[in-house]
């Protein structure tokens, strides 16, 4: 039951901007408030940046989703990069955002409602996040 879907290949820092703009447009089309669209666009920006920084290339998929009661948005960031050795550490606060190192993943988790990560060393990482419309 997808409402709309968009996919952006991430190869450079320019693509980070494109991905978050497309994500914002889709979020608005799905009826998210502009405040929530900003949160979603910021989360996409962080996820896309991780791809550029650590995997160099990958993709961001954004699509509308629906369960029995609510409309939401799903963002999937995937790459074939080096993977994350210690996911628990990567999700720990303070191991992130404000410093120069870190993946900003705890922040992304706070911006969104649902957060799922799978990563395999040497294989890549998939981060899937959802936000439901209020």
């Amino acid at each position: 039951m997808s409402v709309g879907e968009t996919r952006v290949e991430i190869n450079s820092d320019q693509d980070i901007v494109i991905a978050r703009q497309k994500g914002r447009v889709l979020a608005s089309e799905l009826g998210f408030s502009s405040g929530d669209a900003t949160l979603i666009a910021t989360a996409i920006s962080e996820l896309a940046r991780n791809i550029v920084s650590y995997a160099h290339k990958g993709e961001i998929k954004v699509k509308g989703i629906q369960n029995s009661t609510r409309v939401g948005i799903l963002v999937v960031a995937s790459d074939d990069g080096p993977g994350i050795a210690d996911i628990r550490q990567a999700l720990r606060d303070g191991f992130s955002t404000s410093g120069s190192l870190g993946l900003g993943l705890p922040g992304v988790r706070r911006l969104m409602d649902e957060f799922e990560i799978t990563s395999q060393l040497g294989r890549g990482t998939i981060v899937a996040v959802k936000k439901w419309r209020q």
Partner: protein, 120 residues
């Protein structure tokens, strides 16, 4: 996308556009510091009113700009952070510690004029 830097007396004003890439931000960081040196500016106002997303990289770059400019003996004021952007920044745990902020360009100029009124 180049960020225009305006000279206004002893101050410089840099106005961010909506869709700045990392490369643009890095470029701006160098450009601003060079201009502060060139014009012997006392302060820089960075207007981010048009920015719709302030992620970890953009915040870090702003902090670095402010820090570099402080080392030059000048001050930086960030103006125009939108309420939604501020909310997202807080959720992400991003801070602009030690960097002056003001509501908008007018307030930023008023703050600096007050601060430097003796010497201006």
């Amino acid at each position: 996308m180049e960020v225009p830097i305006l000279k206004q007396g002893a101050f410089l004003i840099a106005t961010f556009q909506a869709a700045l890439s990392d490369a643009d931000l890095n470029h701006l960081r160098m450009g601003l510091v060079q201009q502060v040196v060139k014009f012997r500016s006392r302060a820089v106002i960075v207007d981010v009113t048009a920015m719709d997303v302030m992620d970890s990289f953009a915040s870090r770059t702003l902090r670095e700009i402010a820090h570099m400019i402080r080392l030059r003996g000048a001050e930086t004021v960030i103006v125009g952070i939108q309420p939604e952007v501020a909310f997202a920044m807080v959720q992400l745990g991003l801070t602009l510690e030690g960097v002056a902020t003001a509501l908008d360009l007018e307030e930023g100029l008023a703050y600096l004029n007050e601060k430097f009124k003796i010497s201006n």
